[in-house]
């Protein structure tokens, strides 16, 4: 089953291909995502997850609130819709 990533604000849906993180994936596809540390420290890339589920591939310093994900530390577990 194809996993897709939907950037809702940008109005784009892209098939997930292996990337270090959702942040890296967004950058590859020209989606501007806010970020600073890239390591789960600063919280700048916190984004609302509208649908789907993610896996944390790097442990962030603090987990964000429910419904919010850190793009720099996650990859999709299922197809996801991001408020981005």
């Amino acid at each position: 089953m194809t996993v897709t990533v939907t950037f809702k604000t940008s109005g784009r849906t892209v098939a997930w291909t292996k990337a270090d993180s959702l942040l890296a994936f967004a950058e590859e596809h020209g989606i501007d995502a806010p970020f600073s540390c890239g390591a789960g420290v600063c919280g700048t890339c916190a984004t609302t997850l509208l649908e789907g589920d993610v896996t944390y591939v790097e442990d962030p310093l603090y987990l964000p609130d429910p419904g919010v994900v850190l793009l720099c530390c996650t990859t999709p577990k299922t197809s996801v819709v991001l408020d981005l």
């Binding site: 600073s36 540390c37 890239g38 390591a39 789960g40 420290v41 600063c42 442990d59 310093l61 603090y62």
Partner: protein, 224 residues
């Protein structure tokens, strides 16, 4: 606490020293868990430009945080050069471990260039130095800092111990100047703090320690 090689006749001991630092002890743990500080703070002693390059690995352990890395084929830093048994460039490992609540073990490994690695046996000419560092808070703004070092050579050489004692003190004076300036700066900061990737080790240490302190508080109240 287990001190490796304590009482080992092949190892030397620098009995160490102490100083009072006009800063909160957590700025000292921040400093220790950022090995890149060695490039900037210790240019004449422990460090050289190579210490600014490779990103270290951060390991979160139950009893503390370890930040470590191998630096490959670099010139030995000035502090270590006279004590190395080999010539030429080295592979150098920096291991900075800070354990809860506030003691640090710094391990330095120097081997001839091309022979270093966690998966390789130590070269016969290896230089090993383990530094044990104890940060004891006096209050929010003052820390008493104690230390001693173990080394894998010149076990009974008083001249080597004396040279170490002087050099380590000089280097730690460099830390003291920076950490005190950080403490003053953070108490008077004019702009927002920005945390970087390199701050992950120090911040994780602070987070876990704060949790441990919070967990102790109900017990203290109950005892009153």
């Amino acid at each position: 606490m287990n001190v490796e090689h304590w009482g080992d006749s092949a190892w030397g001991l620098n009995r160490g020293d102490a100083m009072t630092v006009e800063a909160n002890y957590l700025y000292m743990t921040d400093n220790l868990l950022d090995p890149s500080h060695v490039a900037w703070v210790h240019q004449t002693s422990f460090g050289n430009a190579a210490c600014a390059d490779d990103v270290p690995d951060t390991t979160i352990a139950d009893n503390g945080v370890i930040v470590s890395r191998w630096m490959r084929d670099t010139e030995p830093a000035p502090f270590y050069q006279p004590f190395l048994k080999f010539r030429g460039n080295c592979d150098r490992k920096q291991h900075y471990e800070v354990r809860y609540p506030s003691h640090a073990i710094i391990k330095a490994i120097f081997v001839p260039a091309g022979t270093g690695g966690d998966d390789k046996p130590l070269h016969q000419d290896v230089f090993l130095m383990d530094s044990y560092n104890f940060l004891t808070p006096i209050n929010e703004n003052l820390t008493r800092y104690y230390w001693f070092q173990m080394r894998n050579f010149a076990p009974n050489d008083q001249a080597v111990s004396a040279a170490f004692a002087t050099s380590v003190r000089t280097a730690f004076e460099e830390d003291k100047a920076i950490v005190q300036a950080v403490h003053r700066g953070m108490n008077n900061k004019k702009s927002n703090n920005i945390d970087l990737k390199i701050d992950k080790g120090p911040l994780h240490f602070r987070k876990r320690l704060a949790q441990m302190i919070a967990a102790e508080k109900p017990t203290l109240v109950a005892a009153e």
